[in-house]
Symmetry: C4
Subunit: 336 residues, 4 copies
């Protein structure tokens, strides 16, 4: 709803960076259109009154099953950057997954948004000591879950990004500060499932694996002790022509079979999308670009508005579908 | 056929109110395109002479299986409002389902259109006494069937409606008059199947449940004593990405198995659409927006023209398909 | 190939009359796009040398399996009208099916085009004596096959025709002359399969039934003694949303099982289309609008060019598919 | 990536010649869109480090499984013509299949590009002695494989070519020199599978059959001693509405069952396309138009850039899919 306003306000190169995807952007578009091709089958006269929309994940309650996905560089969108996003997430009583590539340090984000429920997204770095340092910062800031991105053994090739290479002066990936300098984020093609055990030794936080698109990988995640899974194609930004996340969700949810929470991001733009994802097996979803558009358009208020709209739309869709609770959502409510 | 003329005459906000749907209007479009994807398979050399196109529903004969669907606020379209619509329906010898949100009282509609066959559409109101009052007015006006809308536990979220909030001065939902005031129409999320029994105690009229999209709900309707069913998604106005009505009709008709009449609305724009719906199990269809466009374009004459065109097109399609009677329409005449 | 030139030359109302279809023109478009969705699977290294492209139907040899379909009012397209079309068909050594609604009498067409192979298309008229008179004229002109249109129990409702109602002064359906006057062509909804027996008593010509879209009707045609079948939806002009002819051809060909010749018209625009139709069971195809565009663009020479292009394309496609003969075309050559 | 630049630089008739396809260009488009409809299913956390991207075909090692397809008339694109293309192929350490219709003689190409790995594409000519002469030239130039085009028993009918008929003055198909003159290239509809045995007597080079679209033809190729197969529809230039090559690859690969190498061309534009083709059974792919666009845009440097981009994209896609080696590519990596 805020994309046009965001586009008008953003530096065009930054807009393209936020909005773009890999290759011909087949997956970027598919993430959204796949939701539109799934039908909801509302039930009538079910007498929904007060709705139950909250979800508890790893002991963290969110007032709705819509989390803030980790996205980079919020200060490109608004001077308050991740501070504003976190305050809006706190107001909405939902969880914000802070990006390792945040332009505000995770501790400063936490300080700016009392009551925020923060998780932390991590790219494992070749220097494990430094990786531990970053995790410690997240822990110290009160982050309660570690979300490890596994779909990025290399950077995405995003041709639409041309024109955006470096953060503006004075803007840094603050979570990667190392004394006087800020380390660049490294992508690690050599990362394997065994690194989950390494991470387990570095932190007691639940470890959620983000970027799974195959049921066999979901089973491997369980085998290697992952505490949760995010079905994600990185918003269509890493490699093109991978499936829309909602299209692979059912088989991944079947493989996980309730053993750990399953989240999904990618193309969630409407309350009806949220219901479809939950009906098809997700415990919650995360939204990235919509939050960025709200932030760029109007800072904290914009994000407030985006999250409030999601909340209202989820409640509206539940009511319309005759579901009093998220627990009423199941495969019988949708048709693919 | 009158949409362009209607658009030219209507206040843009009112045009958007009539034409728009929920969300991205996926369902609004699907209602129409689903009909286009169904093929008719005409039979040749069947010697159709005089055609049988009339249908009798709950003892009411209509000269064609095309009814006027309940739509709100006809006086937005034309000063004569529902009076004009009813007169045209009477001329066409078909049934008009008067909307509870009519801008002319149902009694005045009946008085203005002698010979009209009127049914009455109801949103059950929290105040059951007042609900009874409204039903009594419909009964007093000669309405012979009560059509209870069940797909609206809340208002639709129609973003295209912005600009239209209130009826103009002097225009009211006349059926909701309560002494000096006009009550607002309440949507009741707490409505359940048990309310059908409550309604049954309030009236002896046949009760038709409008807004069913699932075969299990159709069976529940039968179990709870409904006298008929309207397969409807409220013209795509309540919640987006629900199926096109014609796409769910066959399984609902199979579930009902002839126990009660099954009607359909949503996307019916052509005589061929009417034949397809009947071939797939409907007893009749109802048309909403086409009537509004006729009304806005040319008042009673416009609606006359719309209904006459439907009649001619139904007759033409029957002839072309080698069907002398609506009874010849069956699943063998279509391919999905 | 000539449509743009034809459009530029024709009275817009006449262009719309020739080009248009019924309703939203779903079938009109489908006739063409259905061919594009069927793949050819060429065989390589088959050593096709001299090609066999001729076909013999009811004792009439055509140099290619592409006939001129019956279309009305050629003098709207060119002053020479059907005379020019027939001369071009004669040059191409193919069969022209003269329309009952020709603007040149069938006898004059025959006289103008020595060597032409003419068939005659008939709408059975309520006055059987007059029907016999018309058939006699066709027989006297040397027509060797009677093609009876059965898909037109009524006129098509073609909204795009508005503006064209009557033939210009001095132009008439010459085959319907009855003394001083020209009778209008009547459509007969009361026509039944039994009328084939009536026709059989009126003529010794082979009787081909044109306008079949269902395998059960094809079987009825055989049962009632039809000598051939044309799978046709009247170029999408009679009733919209009936199937593309190529899509129903295989099941009709299977029903006929070689008992009589099966022809197809509708959407044939390319040599590859011709091969697909023959591979899927047609003995030959007929082309309507392409001939009209050639006629409108450049008279006899235009039709010459259209037919020559079809011939060249058929030969090219056969060569490319490794087929030396039309007999090599079978279902293994296509994929739907 | 260079098509726009190439279009800007090329004579429009030459651009159309290079870019165009047969008929309505259904196949031309399908070649590309078919790749987009196939999903990649990346595996995560597989620890790919150093990648293996080289492939050895008939003893020739290529650093990547992307060859330069044979395309005609490179001097239309750039004065250096095939010399520039060959130098870029040599730099990229990949194989160039020299077109028989090259505008530089194969010997001169080889001389201009030391280290180039050249194969030679042949249209068998009616004069077998002259055919042998042409093959000898290719052998003398160091070509190590003979690629025999079998999909061209006649020239394609490419309507978009109008305006291009003859090579400019001073430009010739140098491989067809015969004393003072240059012979025209003849297409041979009479070519059969038996000609493979004839060719076998003319050369000891491996013989690869280019232009197979059916599994039965692939089996015939094996039966007749072909050493390899190129699944190709000639870039959509010969006959329209044949299938996209990637769509028929799996059944052809199954028919070949590893007996000989299977290559594919047609629509390969991205590293992800390369992975899909290999996952579905190809040993390597060849790219035509992208090379021409690079050549037209910037000569050798343009082709360098195109081939380098393919190399980078293949490596990127392998990394993203968790595949350390081309050998890890299999049907489990894709979904159609």
């Amino acid at each position: 709803m805020f994309e046009a306003a965001a586009r008008a306000r953003l530096d065009p190169a930054h807009y393209r960076y936020f909005s773009g995807g890999a290759g011909e952007e087949v997956t970027l578009r598919a993430n959204e259109t796949a939701f539109q091709r799934i039908c909801l089958l509302p039930r009538v006269l079910r007498g929904t009154g007060k709705l139950q929309t909250d979800v508890t994940l790893f002991g963290n309650r969110a007032a709705m099953p819509v989390l803030v996905a980790p996205t980079a560089f919020h200060r490109l969108a608004h001077p308050e950057g991740e501070r504003a996003t976190a305050r809006a997430a706190a107001s909405a009583e939902t969880i914000m997954i802070v990006s390792m590539a945040a332009t505000v340090a995770v501790g400063d984000i936490a300080a700016a948004a009392p009551g925020a429920r923060l998780w932390f997204q991590l790219y494992v770095q070749p220097d494990l000591d430094f990786t531990r340092t970053v995790i410690r910062r997240a822990e110290a800031a009160g982050c309660t879950v570690l979300v490890v991105t596994v779909d990025s053994p290399a950077r995405g090739r995003r041709e639409h990004d041309h024109g955006f290479h470096d953060l503006p002066d004075g803007m840094y990936c603050e979570n990667l500060r190392d004394g006087d300098r800020v380390r660049p984020i490294a992508m690690m093609p050599e990362l394997t499932w065994e690194h989950l055990a390494v991470l387990r030794r570095l932190t007691d936080l639940p470890i959620v694996v983000k970027g799974v698109l195959r049921p066999d990988d979901a089973r491997l995640a369980l085998d290697h002790g992952a505490d949760g899974i995010v079905v994600s194609n990185h918003g269509g930004r890493q490699i093109d022509t991978v499936p829309a996340t909602i299209d692979v969700l059912p088989e991944i949810a079947a493989a996980v079979a309730g053993a750990v929470p399953v989240l999904l991001d990618g193309g969630v733009r409407r309350g009806t999308d949220v219901l479809k994802a939950l009906a098809l097996g997700a415990d919650a979803v995360a939204v990235g670009r919509p939050v960025l558009w709200g932030l760029a358009a109007d800072g904290e208020r914009g994000v407030d508005s985006v999250l409030r709209t999601f909340r209202e739309e989820v409640e509206h869709a539940l009511t319309m579908c005759g579901c009093a609770s998220l627990r009423d959502l199941g495969p019988g409510l949708v048709r693919r």
